[in-house]
């Protein structure tokens, strides 16, 4: 076996170490975590998970996060599809500038937008709803969705569009019946990226929610109790935040593997 074949497994193994540390911590008691070093939990306990599963706050946090991430992913992909099609197929007034400008919205530091967002969403009554977070996150997921989808679409030969029109397909029918299936893998990858960026972002999500729709990751910050950090519960919550992401990546892995040829740049 060539040594270069060992690079990937070795890296993957190393990258799992911090995650292993999290999982092992979630199975330890606080005393053991802060006590002398141990590679494996000496007395594995599920007490930390029990705390989370018995408290309604945690469950609600989970549902809240999934709600706004779901809204964000669906809306981002649905809105980005026609826009990406326009960028990939046509030349129009200001298209290249517009394309780059979209991405510039991703460059605004979220810290910049905290206060204005708070005011904006409060004034239209969206504060503390999943919609506020979903819309705020769309600021960086939509441009990315357009960029990625445009790459996939440019990989589809334009002759296919023309043939469909000659065959008498209307634009919506062509788009849904012929074009969309062709870029299925692109939609999968895009959805994954939207999901990922919305799932892991916390600063905006926490600012735009207060009571009703707190995300799971914000609930986690409350584990700092009077007695100090409740590391075990924190770790258990961290492990649980990994699961939805792992499920999503499992479903889109083949789409990612199928790959995309980014035609534009």
């Amino acid at each position: 076996m060539r040594p270069s074949r060992l690079i990937a497994p070795l890296y993957l193994l190393l990258s799992l170490v911090p995650i292993y540390w999290l999982v092992s911590m979630s199975l330890k008691t606080n005393e053991e975590i802060l006590g002398p070093f141990s590679l494996f939990p000496r007395l594995p306990t599920l007490a930390n998970y029990l705390v989370i599963f018995t408290e309604p706050d945690w469950r609600q946090g989970y549902i809240n996060s999934l709600t706004y991430v779901g809204i964000n992913t669906v809306l981002s992909v649905v809105l980005a599809l026609p826009a990406a099609y326009a960028f990939s197929r046509y030349r129009f007034l200001g298209d290249t500038h517009l394309f780059f400008w979209l991405l510039t919205n991703r460059m605004a530091p979220p810290a910049v937008f905290l206060l204005p967002f708070f005011q904006l969403y409060s004034s239209i009554g969206l504060f503390d709803t999943p919609w506020a977070v979903a819309l705020a996150h769309m600021l960086f997921t939509v441009p990315l969705a357009v960029w990625i989808l445009e790459g996939f679409m440019s990989g589809v030969p334009r002759e296919i569009d023309e043939t469909a029109y000659i065959d008498g397909y209307s634009f919506p029918r062509f788009f849904l019946r012929i074009f969309l299936p062709l870029i299925r893998s692109g939609v999968g990858v895009t959805a994954f990226f939207c999901f990922m960026f919305s799932w892991v972002e916390l600063l905006l999500a926490r600012t735009l929610t207060s009571v009703e729709t707190k995300p799971i990751a914000a609930t986690m910050t409350r584990t700092v109790s009077a007695a100090g950090m409740d590391w075990g519960v924190l770790a258990a919550a961290g492990v649980l935040t990994l699961i939805p992401g792992a499920v999503v990546i499992y479903f889109v892995r083949n789409y990612i593997a199928k790959g995309f040829a980014l035609g534009r740049v």
């Binding site: 826009a83 460059m107 810290a111 206060l115 892991v200 919550a237 961290g238 992401g245 980014l262």
Partner: protein, 290 residues
């Protein structure tokens, strides 16, 4: 192959523009508004012109944060882009091992940012964390809560661990899109592995690499949650990057005017660098194509 001109394509872009304008342009205008006013109370605003900008631009603390930030972002790019490409090349392309590798690879990306900080906060501790213990056992007195360089390196290691998978995933999907015929042609010509990489794989990766470089630059330039959780910006100011400094200004001291002015300067700096990267990477391709 030229694209047809069709200005009605604007209609297809309109929904995206509406959403982005709503969630970007309105708040941005608010920030611009703040940056030229002194806000004393809900109804007391005084126009102060460029005073905040002058104040912010002369702030030595800001200069320090900017220097640290630039060094950090460039280090991130210098490590993560080559590592990501190498990883993408080394990943298995077919079968079960490919899907298992992809899932494992992407795991760090899917951890909420504050959890990433929390993991490393413990993982790197010298007394109870695996990493800290191992480094100390190797004879290096490592303590990220007390030593500035150690803290900076820990944030860097955390970022590399966290984000290299993004580069690798993008490159991996780019590699998968290269038709088999290209490799066959290369084999017939007896091309070395390096030549195959340099003349077939790398040019074809350019699209995804542009996205990867831009994304990594922008996100590393705005890094906030992870160092905040890990070190809180310290020891001293060693891991106070721009976003931390900004948040301290806006939320901690509630200096809305200077914070807004600083935000705009910050935004322009990111924009400038991203534009440089973007044009550099796209123009290089045009020279090749012609």
């Amino acid at each position: 192959m030229d694209k047809p001109t069709n200005n009605r394509a604007w209609l297809l872009v309109l929904p995206v523009l509406a959403v982005v304008a709503f969630s970007a342009v309105i708040p941005l205008m608010t920030v611009v508004n703040y940056s030229v006013q002194d806000i004393l109370g809900p109804e007391q605003h005084i126009f102060v012109g460029t005073e905040w900008f002058r104040k912010v631009l002369r702030d030595p603390e800001l200069h320090g944060a900017l220097r640290r930030q630039l060094g950090f972002s460039l280090a991130v790019l210098a490590i993560e882009i080559p590592l990501g490409i190498g990883l993408a090349l080394a990943l298995p392309m077919k079968g079960r091992s490919a899907s298992v590798s992809l899932v494992v690879l992407a795991l760090p990306l899917l951890i909420p940012w504050n959890v990433v900080g929390t993991i490393w906060q413990i993982f790197a501790r010298g007394d109870i964390g695996l990493l800290g213990l191992v480094i100390n056992a190797l004879g290096w007195k490592y303590n990220y809560t007390a030593d500035a360089l150690d803290a900076w390196l820990t944030v860097l290691a955390m970022d590399v661990w966290h984000w290299t998978p993004l580069v690798a995933l993008l490159c991996y999907s780019g590699l998968r899109a290269i038709p088999e015929a290209f490799y066959q042609a290369a084999r017939i010509d007896g091309a070395s592995a390096w030549a195959t990489f340099r003349y077939i794989q790398l040019p074809r990766l350019k699209g995804v690499l542009t996205i990867a470089v831009l994304l990594r630059f922008m996100d590393s330039f705005m890094i906030y949650t992870e160092p905040f959780v890990l070190t809180g910006g310290g020891p001293g100011n060693s891991t106070t990057f721009l976003s931390q400094y900004l948040t301290r200004l806006a939320v901690g001291q509630f200096d809305l005017g200077p914070a807004a002015a600083f935000s705009l300067v910050y935004f322009l700096v990111v924009l400038l660098f991203s534009y440089i990267f973007y044009t550099a990477m796209t123009q290089q391709g045009q020279e090749k194509a012609s």
